[in-house]
Amino acid sequence: MKTKPNDLKKRTVSLKKELSPELEKIIIALELAEAADDPTWAELAVLVLNDMKYLDSAEGQKLKKRIRLEMKS
């Protein structure tokens, strides 16, 4: 048992965001492909990233590269 209180973590509880039907469909498609261990997951993810402005960011470029390299290896 701890004799000092542990700090309260932030955001243990945050309510789910309401997603637009379009976004929900993209997420379901990605999750399904991923859950089925389908290699098209990578293609699908890259396709989605291509459509997003985050692709322009360094983070987005790195993620895209990682998905391509790691998942298609």
Binding site: M1, K2, T3, K4, P5, N6, D7, L8, K9, R11, T12, V13, S14, L15, K16, K17, L19, S20, E22, L23, I26, I27, I28, L30, E31, L32, E34, A35, A36, D37, D38, P39, W41, A45, V48, L49, M52, K53, Y54, E59, G60, L63, R66, I67, E70, M71, S73
Partner: protein, 413 residues
């Protein structure tokens, strides 16, 4: 998409990418070669079909298998083989019921994932049963008169910890609250059975009786009452309740972390109490982003382990490229009429289900449904038949999905 939606999607893709384990690494984690894993996957599949035959489960199609398994669980909830079939079935992402052509690598990856999930699910079912029996013992021991055991360090630490929560901040410098928290800890520590579930009991009193703790000197909680089920109204946010429930979940999560290393506390048993005596865990998983290890009920665990979209009864062959969303936009009244008819006509859905089970022709049911709603008044019959067929399959699939989860209730009766 809005920038917020893009960010959300980006984060989700990043999370999925982080979770992804390349096949080579996956094999080394399991200590197995690719060839061995593939041959085990084949054995896994044949073992599943052997088990179906052993229990005379109708192998006409996925629907008939699911229906028979549900019936068998209801008749023989204790049968280990049937539990095994159930867990293999609902965790399937295409190894047992492939959709299209699958390469060897997908087979291996699916097998490793499914084997792990099946084992975890079987363990969860067994654990749940054992914990349920322990809760019975706890209930019978709650009346024992405790010998108050003082522990200044613990009492101070818990008091300080509770003040980190906005809803208990009023207890700061409040000697009544401080003394009541100390007395509550002493009361729980004085009964070795209650001590095991200290995080749950502390949470219950702090969450439900904070007013008494703050204002009533020498308040003593009725521990026995804390084992009676509490069902909060979780269907709708009334502006206050959801924020209270959020506090409750955070408080419990905080307490379980606090006592995690305490050998006298049985954290799994305490978690079981939290998940099954209150419905705050249900609330959390329904309405919140699950970003912490908040305890789950067995039914929730099953929903989590179930492969997404399982079971797929409404296949691509049935869709045949028909766009039901577009149809609904064009004929919203007809779609509503069909859906309503499906809901009220129990015989129709029963006959339709029987036909699917037996691999029989379902056109009779579809024609009947279209006639019942005068579909010919809205569009050509061929289109109406297709829409009616898809909506019927949707309903059957939804009902089956629910039944596959709720049947697990037989293990927690």
């Amino acid at each position: 998409m809005t920038p917020e939606e893009e960010l959300y999607l980006f984060q989700r893709i990043s999370q999925m990418a982080d979770k992804y384990i390349p096949t080579k690494k996956l094999l080394s984690i399991h200590g197995i070669t690719f060839h061995q894993a593939h041959s085990e996957a084949e054995k896994w599949r044949s073992n599943f079909y052997n088990l179906l035959d052993k229990h005379n489960i109708c192998r006409n199609n996925l629907f008939s298998i699911c229906i028979d398994v549900i019936e068998l669980i209801e008749k023989h909830p204790e049968n280990n083989n049937i539990q095994q079939i159930y867990c293999m079935l609902i965790t399937d992402t295409g190894l047992l019921f492939p959709k299209g052509k699958r390469g060897k690598e997908i087979t291996v990856r699916s097998y490793l994932r499914q084997k792990k999930n099946t084992e975890k699910l079987l363990q969860a079912i067994a654990d749940d049963k054992a914990l349920k029996n322990q809760l019975k013992i706890l209930r019978s021991k709650a009346k024992l008169k405790p010998e108050m055991v003082k522990s200044d360090d613990e009492e101070n630490a818990v008091y300080e910890m509770t003040l980190q929560h906005q809803q208990l901040k009023a207890g700061e410098g409040n000697t009544i609250y401080m003394d009541n928290v100390s007395a509550l800890i002493q009361q729980i520590n004085g009964n070795p059975y209650m001590r095991k579930v200290k995080p749950y009991l502390l949470f219950s009193v702090l969450f439900r009786k904070s007013g008494y703790l703050m204002k009533r000197a020498a308040y003593q909680a009725n521990i026995e009452n804390l084992f009676e089920c509490v069902n909060y109204s979780i269907e709708k946010d009334n502006g206050k309740n959801f924020s209270d429930y959020g506090f409750g979940v955070e408080l419990y999560e905080h307490l379980r972390r606090f006592y995690m290393e305490d050998k006298t506390v049985d954290v799994p048993l305490s978690d079981y109490c939290f998940a099954n005596i209150t419905n705050l865990s249900d609330w959390y998983y329904r309405f919140c982003e699950p970003n912490e290890e908040v305890p789950m009920t067995l039914l929730r665990k099953i929903s989590e382990f179930k492969a997404p979209m399982f079971p797929i009864i409404l296949t691509d062959e049935i869709y045949q490229g028909f766009d039901i969303d577009e149809f609904e936009i064009k004929y919203p009244v007809l779609v509503r009429k069909i859906q309503k008819e499906i809901q009220v006509d129990n015989k129709l859905i029963r006959d339709f289900s029987t036909a699917i089970y037996n691999n029989d022709d379902v056109s009779r049911n579809i024609v009947q449904l279209c006639e019942n709603v005068d579909a010919y008044k809205f569009c050509d019959m061929k289109t109406a038949y297709k829409a009616a067929e898809i909506l019927l399959y949707c309903e059957v699939e939804n009902r089956l999905t629910d039944e596959l989860i709720f049947v697990a209730g037989n293990w927690i009766k």
